[in-house]
């Protein structure tokens, strides 16, 4: 259950930060409907990417089981989640290929990766906690 909550945290933070970063991008490019864009990205992001939670949970569980130090495990988790993001966007391109530009998708992947990096780093404490055995925590 703990891993699920951590996965939920990482997912929610990433979607929220992604929407914020893209919203800022919309302001920068002077799009008239900034708030609409932000709202669509936020709600749409939460709805569309919700099934990814299953994979995120599995990846969190798997990365924490690897025979590496905690920092290496977090790096591994970030790396695997970036690959998941890439696959997700590739799937989107496959679904709506005619309407999406590759350059736009690449930028989107970059922005989402930055959001993910912030999300993982700010969830670091929970990840360390779940990784450390109880007796070590007492010390």
């Amino acid at each position: 259950m703990k891993t699920f909550f951590i996965s939920l945290k990482i997912w929610a933070k990433t979607v929220f930060l992604n929407a914020c970063l893209l919203g800022l991008g919309a302001v920068y490019s002077k799009e008239p409907e900034v708030f609409d864009t932000l709202l669509v990205l936020l709600i749409g992001g939460f709805l569309i990417t919700a099934p990814l939670l299953l994979f995120i949970e599995k990846l969190v569980r798997l990365s924490l089981r690897m025979p590496y130090g905690i920092n290496a495990r977090i790096a591994l988790l970030f790396f695997s989640l970036v690959i998941l993001i890439m696959f997700f966007y590739l799937f989107m391109v496959w679904l709506f290929g005619d309407h999406l530009e590759i350059k736009g998708i690449l930028s989107l992947t970059g922005v989402t990766s930055v959001a993910l990096l912030i999300a993982v780093l700010t969830t670091r404490k929970s990840l360390i906690k779940i990784n450390t055995p109880q007796n070590e925590l007492i010390k």
Binding site: V27, F35, A72
Partner: protein, 527 residues
């Protein structure tokens, strides 16, 4: 210095070197520089690997592929170079005998790359005051920054003067970033990451040795093992057999029944294959004629694909019968003879498929797929021989797959020593009177074939005239038979491409083509 840190420094240096030598260049002389660095670093980090005979043989194969990248510069030589480099890294880092398991270990190297890279870095443990200050700063700044961003957007949309001011600041920032990214582009950053990934995959050994420990448990010789009925019933395939065979699949006589079923199956299959082989020998070997109006490709394409499937299936059936204790059954003589006969008959079938391919080549000339079929048949023949060795010498499936994988690697390395495009063009043009010259296909071959096409420009012109005469009455939207024009465009494209490349992309194949055109006066000195 800590070995882990040395690894990280080497990986970083490798990524930088990758970025410097491969950016907007093609794989050629630069490969020697990068490969030299990787191999030195690899044997420096794992010095004991040099004593391993497999590593030495693989190193030889890799050096042959590297040489072929410089000499022929074909796509095949580049693929073989990458494959042998990755395999070499796996064999240097882990204890392996099989290519399959080494490939698995390498896959783990790639998957664990991020962890392997971060692992040697020692982060300070315990309460770090500085880190906490930064963390507190981020937490305190988070909501104010969001509020700031929201109100900034509102004012930007509501106030024109503020919008202009923000726009001017934005323009200045944009100019700054444009200049910055002109110097150091995003694409180059991604390219650096790619270099990091490749160098890391080769140099960083993952901590998980799942595949090497699994392989350590496997051996070449088959061991007689007693499997209880309960354990056998856990296997879904055995359950299926039990449904069909009933009580005959288990009990005291199970092995005898299996032997009888196998012998009957092989006798029937041998009889069937004998009929096919007699038909093939009669029509293909002894009385073959090209039939007027019936295209040869129909016979070859339809026949070859199915026959290849049948041969592979045949090997799978033999593997099924000789998977376990039937190898040790005393009265398996006829089952073994049946298997040997089937192997020989399948080898005859391979020869028939080879003959079909030969007839096709004789009529239509060489092409990639036709050469590919020959290589595939060679691999199938090796497969059949190893199946025979497996049955005769009571070997495991591990042995069979290991030997076949090494055979495939050897064939791949040897295949790089020939420039296939040049060979195809030379062969087809030399037999222009007997073979139908497919000019669009020849024009799609790599640059090394251009001098040959240019020397045979008369053949191209002749074919163009023939096709023009054939399609004289039909309306055409574009000229699909302007072969000379297309050849000239290819030549010009080659010259232009060469101008974009530096000495790092030097290779013999391009230098040869370039020299030919220089002699013809098409291009001036490029490098």
């Amino acid at each position: 210095m800590n070995k882990g840190l040395i690894k990280i420094m080497l990986v970083t240096a490798g990524a930088v070197l990758f970025n410097l030598v491969f950016w907007q260049e093609k794989l050629a002389l630069n490969t020697v520089l990068f490969d030299g660095f990787l191999l030195t670093a690899l044997f420096f980090l794992y010095p004991h690997a040099g004593q391993n005979a497999t590593v030495r043989w693989l190193l030889l194969g890799h050096i042959i592929c590297l040489t072929m990248v410089i000499v022929h510069n074909t796509e095949l030589s580049k693929i073989a170079f990458a494959v042998t480099l990755l395999l070499l890294a796996a064999f240097v880092e882990y204890v392996h005998r099989s290519v399959w398991f080494a490939g698995g270990s390498l896959l783990l190297n790639i998957l664990m790359i991020a962890a392997s890279f971060v692992e040697p870095i020692k982060f300070r443990r315990g309460p770090v005051v500085k880190g906490k200050v930064i963390s507190r700063f981020i937490r305190f700044a988070f909501f104010p920054l969001i509020l700031l961003a929201v109100f900034f957007c509102i004012y930007l949309l509501a106030n024109n003067v503020f919008s202009d001011l923000a726009g001017r600041i934005g323009a200045q920032l944009e100019l700054f970033f444009t200049r910055f990214f002109d110097f150091f582009s995003w694409q180059r950053l991604l390219f650096l990451l790619l270099g990091l990934l490749i160098t890391g995959a080769v140099l960083l050994k993952s901590k998980i040795d799942y595949f090497s420990s699994r392989e350590a448990r496997l051996q070449d010789g088959l061991q007689r093992t007693r499997i209880t009925l309960r354990k056998r019933r856990e296997n879904a395939f055995f359950q299926l057999i039990e449904v069909v065979m009933g009580r005959m699949a288990n009990g005291m006589m199970a092995l005898k029944n299996e032997n009888t079923t196998g012998t009957i199956s092989l006798v029937l299959l041998n009889v069937l294959l004998l009929v096919i082989n007699i038909i093939d020998v009669n029509f293909l070997w002894l009385n073959f004629h090209y039939k007027e109006g019936e295209p040869v490709y129909k016979m070859v394409h339809e026949g070859t694909e199915l026959l290849i499937v049948s041969i592979v299936l045949a090997m799978a059936i033999l593997l099924f019968f000789f998977k376990g204790n039937l190898n040790f059954y005393k009265r398996n003589k006829w089952l073994k003879y049946g298997a040997y006969a089937w192997i020989v008959q399948n080898a005859i079938l391979v020869s028939s498929v080879c003959l079909r391919d030969y007839y096709y080549i004789a009529k239509h000339g060489l092409a990639y797929k036709r050469i590919g079929v020959l290589f595939f048949l060679l691999m199938v023949l090796i497969g059949l021989i190893t199946v025979f060795v497996k049955i005769y010498g009571k070997k495991t499936n591990y042995f069979l797959f290991r030997i076949n994988a090494w055979a495939a690697i050897t064939v791949l390395v040897l295949a790089t020593t020939i420039h296939w495009d040049e060979l195809i063009a030379g062969y087809n043009l030399q037999r222009k009177n007997t073979v139908e010259v497919d000019v669009p296909f020849l024009l799609s071959l790599s640059d090394k074939a251009l001098p040959l096409l240019d020397t045979n420009i008369v053949v191209l012109q002749k074919r163009q005239n023939e096709l023009d005469a054939l399609s004289n009455n039909r309306p055409r939207n574009y000229c699909d038979t302007c072969f000379i024009e297309q050849l000239k465009q290819r030549e010009q494209k080659f010259v232009n491409e060469q101008k974009q490349l530096s000495w790092l992309s030097w290779n013999y194949a391009d230098a040869y083509t370039e020299k030919y055109f220089q002699r013809k006066g098409l291009s001036t000195a490029i490098h």
